[in-house]
């Protein structure tokens, strides 16, 4: 079983030849192909990783933008709600103001109307009272109304107390020592004479009297000594009547409001 030397050498040559051939036709080519494929896969994986990273970054950007958008939207909604509430409040206040103004105007108008009504009423009432009084006095006595008034005024002059007399005397000292007697009706000469006499008796002989007609005095007579006035007319009675009428009207308004 000794080796055949020629075969042995030939086999060595064959083997070396086979190594060279396979190195050339098999190993080098296959290894190169495998390396190239590995490199290409690696580069594709790297590109994919880059793309993935970029996509991730983009997604993160979009997420951030979405978050910001939502925050902005919430903020805008909150602001809009706040503005709407404030606007509503303003409108309500304006409406309330308008209503208050309208109410105030209405009340003022009502008051004016009431006052006008009362004034008119008072004028009519005073006219009526005077007419009634005049008619009543005329019917009750033979003397006319002026005479009654003069009598009444004379009585008043006679019943002046000391303080009133002193006040009239002081007023006369500051003036021209004359009193002015104003009447709603023109006085007859007898009546003027009689009144002058009463003045002399009550205030002193040196005191003169001037007679003036003043229609605004309602059925009355007035003595003026500079700043002092001594008056008798129906105005005081009329004011009393007016006060009562006002009181009755106020009560009626209160009852009406309570009922409403």
């Amino acid at each position: 079983m000794a080796p055949d030397w020629f075969t042995l050498i030939a086999q060595i040559v064959n083997f070396l030849l086979l190594v060279w051939l396979l190195k050339h036709y098999l190993f080098a080519r296959v290894v190169r192909a495998m390396n190239e494929r590995e490199a290409s896969i690696a580069s594709r994986l790297e590109a994919a990783a880059r793309t993935h990273a970029s996509a991730e970054q983009e997604a993160e950007t979009f997420r951030t933008r979405n978050r910001e958008f939502e925050e902005e939207r919430d903020e805008m909604l909150a602001r809009a709600r706040e503005e709407a509430a404030s606007h509503r409040q303003q409108l309500l206040e304006a409406a309330r103001r308008d209503v208050d103004n309208a109410q105030a105007e209405w009340l003022a108008m009502l008051n004016r109307e009431r006052e006008d009504l009362l004034l008119d009423f008072r004028e009519r009432l005073s006219g009526g009272v005077v007419a009634v009084a005049r008619q009543g006095l005329r019917q009750l006595a033979s003397a006319d109304l002026e005479r009654q008034i003069l009598d009444n005024f004379e009585g008043r002059l006679r019943t002046l107390d000391a303080a009133e007399r002193e006040a009239i005397a002081a007023a006369l000292r500051d003036s021209d020592h004359a009193v002015e007697i104003r009447t709603a009706f023109p006085l007859l000469p007898e009546a003027q004479e009689r009144l002058s006499r009463s003045v002399h008796e009550q205030l002193g002989d040196g005191v003169g009297a001037r007679f003036v007609t003043a229609p605004e005095l309602i059925c009355g007579i007035e003595l003026r000594a500079h700043a002092y006035h001594l008056t008798w007319n129906l105005d005081a009675y009329l004011e009393d009547v007016e006060a009562r009428v006002f009181e009755t009207l106020e009560e009626s308004v209160r009852e009406h409001e309570a009922a409403r």
């Binding site: 055949d4 020629f6 075969t7 050498i9 086999q11 051939l21 098999l26 190993f27």
Partner: protein, 239 residues
């Protein structure tokens, strides 16, 4: 019955002769080279591969992996030699099941030739890596007394490698022939299946052993050089 295909001579002129070993070697070489050329002339660099390329890539990739595992070095330096060794032995042994085929690995001349190639490759790689002087120094380490032991180790290793492959392949063929004579029905089929397995295992063992010899010789030289360098630097520090 021919124990070895060397004895089947087709043509002879003096010392020159063409026997079955050479003819079947050429046949195996032709099959390997032609099929490699056929597959590798149109290689795909992309992800879609032909079946042949896929097979070759698996084979080459597997051999590369084994080389990397054993040597812990770059596989490209050893791939052509170790890969050819493994594939030649494997293809020869696998073709054993073809009737009439005599595996060239069943010839002691072939196995000795392969073992001699390994025997030469070990110092060739060593010298290529470290230079002739450094490589030869390794034989007298740790002392000159070890020189005969080292040389004897190299020789016996090569001889053992050759005999192991020859014995296994030859015995497989012989057992097949004997079984055929004793029990010609079914039993030789099982023996052939076993022969296939043994043939592939032998191819693997032969290639791995060659690789281990080359790699360990290189590693031993590197270790020796490393310790020599360490000693020299220690001496310098002491000095």
């Amino acid at each position: 019955m021919h124990v070895t295909p060397d004895s089947i001579i087709f043509w002879q002129a003096g010392p020159l002769k063409i026997n079955a070993t050479l003819v079947f070697t050429w046949l195996v070489m032709a099959i390997m080279v032609v099929s490699s050329w056929l597959v590798t002339r149109r290689l795909s660099r992309g992800t879609s591969l032909s079946r042949g390329q896929n097979l070759l890539e698996i084979l080459v990739g597997g051999i590369q992996g084994q080389i990397r595992d054993v040597t812990r070095q770059d596989s490209d330096r050893y791939l052509p030699f170790i890969g050819t060794l493994f594939m030649f032995v494997a293809v020869s042994n696998v073709l054993m099941i073809v009737p009439g085929f005599r595996p060239p690995t069943g010839s002691i001349s072939t196995t000795i030739a392969l073992a001699l190639c390994v025997f030469v490759a070990v110092p060739a790689y060593g010298i290529a890596d470290h230079g002739l002087k450094e490589y030869l120094k390794a034989y007298v380490r740790p002392s000159v007394l070890m020189l005969p032991m080292n040389v004897l180790g190299e020789l016996t290793r090569t001889f053992a490698l050759a005999l192991r492959l020859f014995g296994n392949v030859m015995s497989g063929t012989m057992i097949g022939a004997i079984l055929l004579a004793i029990a010609p029905l079914f039993v030789p089929v099982i023996a052939n299946v076993l022969g296939l397995l043994v043939g592939l295992i032998q191819a693997y063992i032969f290639a791995i052993l060659a690789l281990v010899f080359i790699a360990s010789a290189n590693a031993a030289h590197e270790e020796a050089r490393g310790s020599a360098t360490t000693n020299a630097s220690e001496e310098m520090i002491d000095g």
